[in-house]
Symmetry: C2
Subunit: 430 residues, 2 copies
C-alpha cells in the first residue's frame, strides 16, 4: 500500500512537506565517463562512433551505415499494422493542430517618441532529437518532440536512436517518417549527443538537442549545453489525481497505475475528500497490480512513492497541488474548470473524469514532454517556442535619438563606461 496522509491528523503538515521534498532522481556520477566519450567523438569523429557503438550496442557499423536509409524507413513503415499507422497519424494530426496555435506573432510598432521597436521570431536551423533504445523507445515521444520543431519551421530535423544488436522498433521509425524527420542515425548514448553537438564527417552538427535519455545522455546534454541548446533534463514521471467520491474507483485506479507502470521511480498521488472512496481505489489498485504486465514496476512505484491524501474539503486542493507542482494533474471533480483556474503550478491539467491523462500521452494534442520534479514552478512543457528564438529590433532617427541620448549618456557616465557615453555624445555634437 502507498502511504496515506490525512489532513485531520496532527502530523499532516510534516508528512506532506516530506512528500513535497522527496527526490526520486537517480544520481549516477557519470561526469568523467561522459566527458571522455565527448572528447573521443570530437577528436576521432565517425571512427569513435563506430567503435563506441560496437562496444555499447554490440553492433558493427561503418560511417556509411550510421544512417538509416530511406529504404529502411519505408520497410519499417510496411512492418507496422495499418491500425497502428492510422493511430500514429491521428495523433500526429492532433499534435500538429495544437502546436500550430502556439506560433507567436512578430510585432513591430513605433512609440510616441518615434522609436521603431519590434520582436521577430525565427526558427532554429537544425535540431537533434534523441530517442532512447530498448523499452523506453516510444513512438509517441518521437511525435511529441519532432512535430513542434517542424511546426516552428526548423530546416533540418535529425534523429538519433540506438539499436542494440541491430534491433529497431518499426513504429519508432514510422513515427519519424510521419513527423517529418529528415535524417535518422542508429547511434545512442553520450556519443550520439556529442556527434549532434560537434558533428562528424557523416553527421553535420545541429543547434539544439531535445529528447529524453538515460543518465549518460542527460549528462552529455549538460556538458554540450552552450555549444548547442538543450531541452530540460527530465526526471521520473508523476501524476496527481484529484477525485471526489462520486468517481468510479476502477477508472481512478487505472489512471494512477498508468503513471506507476512507467518506472519504479514514477509517482502517483490521489487526493480526495472521501476516505471510503480512497480505500476503494486502493483496493482496486492492489487487485490490478497482480495481473498487470508491468505489475512489478507499478507495484514498486506505488509502494515507494505513491500517496493517498484525504482532505477535509476540496477547497484545500489548489494550495496542496501548487506545493506539489505536478507534471500531470487530473481533476476528476464536478467543476474541474473552476478548480483548474485556481491552480498556478502544474505542467498539464486534464479536466473531468472523461479525460484520463493517457489521452494526453497520445492523442490529446498538447505536448506530453512536461516539467517533472516540481519544476512546473518555473518551467513549461515542450512547445513550438522551444524551436524558435526572438530577435529584438530598435531603430531611432535623428530626432528620436536626440530624445533618448541624454538619459543614455548619463547612465553610461554613471556606470563609468566612457566609450559608451562617447558613442552617444559624439552623435549629439554633429
Amino acid at each position: 500500500m502507498a502511504r496515506r496522509l490525512d489532513c485531520r491528523e496532527a502530523d499532516f503538515e510534516a508528512s506532506f512537506a516530506a512528500l513535497v521534498e522527496e527526490r526520486r532522481e537517480e544520481t549516477h556520477d557519470v561526469r568523467d565517463t561522459v566527458s571522455g566519450i565527448i572528447a573521443r567523438v570530437r577528436g576521432e569523429g565517425d571512427a569513435a562512433l563506430v567503435d563506441l557503438t560496437r562496444h555499447f550496442d554490440r553492433l558493427e557499423l561503418t560511417p556509411a551505415t550510421l544512417r538509416v536509409t530511406g529504404e529502411e524507413l519505408r520497410a519499417a513503415r510496411d512492418a507496422c499494422t495499418p491500425e497502428d499507422l492510422r493511430a500514429l497519424e491521428t495523433a500526429a494530426a492532433r499534435i500538429r493542430a495544437f502546436h500550430e496555435r502556439q506560433i507567436p506573432k512578430d510585432e513591430r510598432w513605433t512609440d510616441a517618441q518615434g522609436v521603431r521597436l519590434g520582436m521577430v521570431w525565427k526558427p532554429i536551423d537544425a535540431v537533434g532529437l534523441y530517442v532512447p533504445g530498448g523499452t523506453a523507445a516510444y513512438p509517441s515521444s518521437v511525435l511529441m518532440n519532432a512535430i513542434p520543431a517542424r511546426v516552428a519551421g526548423c530546416r533540418r530535423l535529425v534523429m538519433v536512436a540506438p539499436t542494440p544488436e541491430g534491433r529497431v522498433n518499426p513504429l519508432v521509425l514510422a513515427a519519424a517518417a510521419v513527423a517529418g524527420v529528415d535524417e535518422v542515425y542508429r547511434i545512442g548514448g553520450a556519443q550520439a549527443v556529442a556527434a549532434l553537438a560537434y558533428g562528424t564527417s557523416t553527421i553535420r552538427p545541429v543547434d539544439k538537442i531535445v529528447g529524453p535519455g538515460n543518465a549518460w545522455v542527460a549528462e552529455a546534454k549538460r556538458q554540450v549545453f552552450g555549444r548547442v541548446g538543450i531541452d530540460m533534463i527530465a526526471g521520473p514521471s508523476e501524476i496527481v489525481v484529484v477525485a471526489d467520491g462520486g468517481n468510479e474507483p476502477a477508472w481512478i485506479a487505472a489512471d494512477l497505475l498508468s503513471q506507476a507502470e512507467h518506472d519504479t521511480r514514477a509517482q502517483s498521488i490521489l487526493i480526495t475528500e472521501d476516505a471510503g472512496f480512497a480505500a476503494r481505489v486502493e483496493a482496486e489498485i492492489e487487485r490490478r497490480l497482480e495481473t498487470l504486465s508491468r505489475g512489478a514496476i507499478a507495484k514498486e512505484s506505488w509502494r515507494a512513492h505513491g500517496a493517498v491524501i484525504v482532505v477535509a474539503s476540496l477547497e484545500e486542493v489548489p494550495a496542496l497541488v501548487d506545493r506539489l507542482a505536478p507534471e500531470h494533474l487530473e481533476l476528476a471533480v464536478p467543476d474541474a474548470e473552476a478548480m483548474a483556474a485556481r491552480i498556478t503550478h502544474a505542467g498539464a491539467i486534464f479536466l473531468g473524469p472523461w479525460t484520463p491523462e493517457v489521452i494526453g500521452d497520445y492523442v490529446g494534442g498538447p505536448n506530453h514532454v512536461l516539467p517533472t520534479s516540481r519544476t512546473a514552478r518555473f518551467a513549461s512543457g515542450l512547445a513550438v517556442h522551444d524551436f524558435l528564438k526572438r530577435t529584438t529590433l530598435l531603430g531611432c532617427d535623428a530626432a528620436s535619438f536626440r530624445a533618448l541620448a541624454p538619459a543614455a549618456g548619463r547612465l553610461a557616465r554613471a556606470e563609468g563606461l566612457e566609450a559608451h557615453a562617447l558613442a552617444v555624445e559624439g552623435r549629439l555634437v554633429e
Copy 2:
C-alpha cells in the same frame, strides 16, 4: 590593430571560419570549490553566509544585517543625483513599456471533435536576481533583469549583491527600488546563489535565479539548476557593426569601442564594403584608445578579438552575419530594415546610423541581456516569457473521449503499456 579579413583574398573562408569558431570564455575549474560552498550553505544556512562573506568580502555581518534595510535603500536613493535618478526612471519606463508588449495571451478553444483545449500562462512565484559587485555592478542590468519579472507578475523579487568591505553602489540600490525589487541581501558569490536556491533561516528560497556573475556564480547556477530555474550563462559581450562607406568613421569607431571597453574578452567586428572607410575607422579607434579611461581594456579586446571584414558587396552580409550569430548587430546602412529582414541569427538588431547600440544598453526598451557566443542560433534575450510558465489544458466529455480513445488505446498497446491502455479501455466498457 585588429585583424583584417578581405573577402577577395584566397584565405578569406579559412580566416572567417576561424573567427566564427573562436572561443573567448575563460574556463576556470571551480566545480569542487562551488559544490563545497553550496553544501556548506545547505548545511549551516545563515552561519555559512556570515562566514563566507567575512572571508570573500571582508565584511562582518550577522543574520540580522544580511538584508539591506528600507532605510538604507532610501539613503542610497538620496545619495544619487536627481539627473541620474531621472535617467534611471526614463530607462525603467521605456523598458517596462517594451516588455508589457511581450505578455502572451491565454488561449482556450474547443476543436471539431468537441475537445476543450488551452494554454494558460502563470508567473513564477519568486525570482532571485544576482547582481555582481565591483566594477560590473551596473544599475542598467538591475532594471533589465528585474522589470521583466515585475511585468510578468512574479510575487517576490529578491536581489543579492556582494558589497566588498561594505562598499555599495548607490545607483544599483536606487535601480532596485525603481524596478520594484522586494528584498535586497548584501551577499554574493556561490554562497548567494545557494542561499537563493535552498533558503536559509533569513532568506526564503526562490524558484528561479537570473543575472550575470563571475565563474563561481555561473558554476553555482549550473549546480543548482533543476532545484530552481536559471537564465543563460552569459559569455563575454560582442557586436557586429555593418557600415557602408557613407558613415561618419568617428561614430562607428565609438560604437566598436563601446563594446571593446566592457572586457578584454569582448569582441567588436566591423563589416563594410569600403576598404578606405575601414581604414578611417581603424585610425579613429587607434586615436581614441590612447585617451579612453578604459583604453587598456578596450585595446586588449580590439587587438585580440576585434576584426574588420571587407566584403565586395553588402549583399554578402546576411550570410556572414548568420554564421557569426552576434549578440548585438548594428546596421548602419541605407536600408537597414531590408537587411534586418534577411538576418536569421542575432540577439538584437539596431537599425540605422542613429541607433548606436548604447541606446539599447540603457533606454531603448528591448532587453540588453542577450545571447552571446553564437548562442543566438538557438537562444533569445531575456524577456517576460522567462518569468512565466505555461500550463496546457485538455478536457474531454464522454463523446469526445470515445472519439479519441481507440487511437490512444492502440498506441498504448503498441508501446507495451498495458495500464495506459486499460485507463482508456476501462472507460469504454462502462
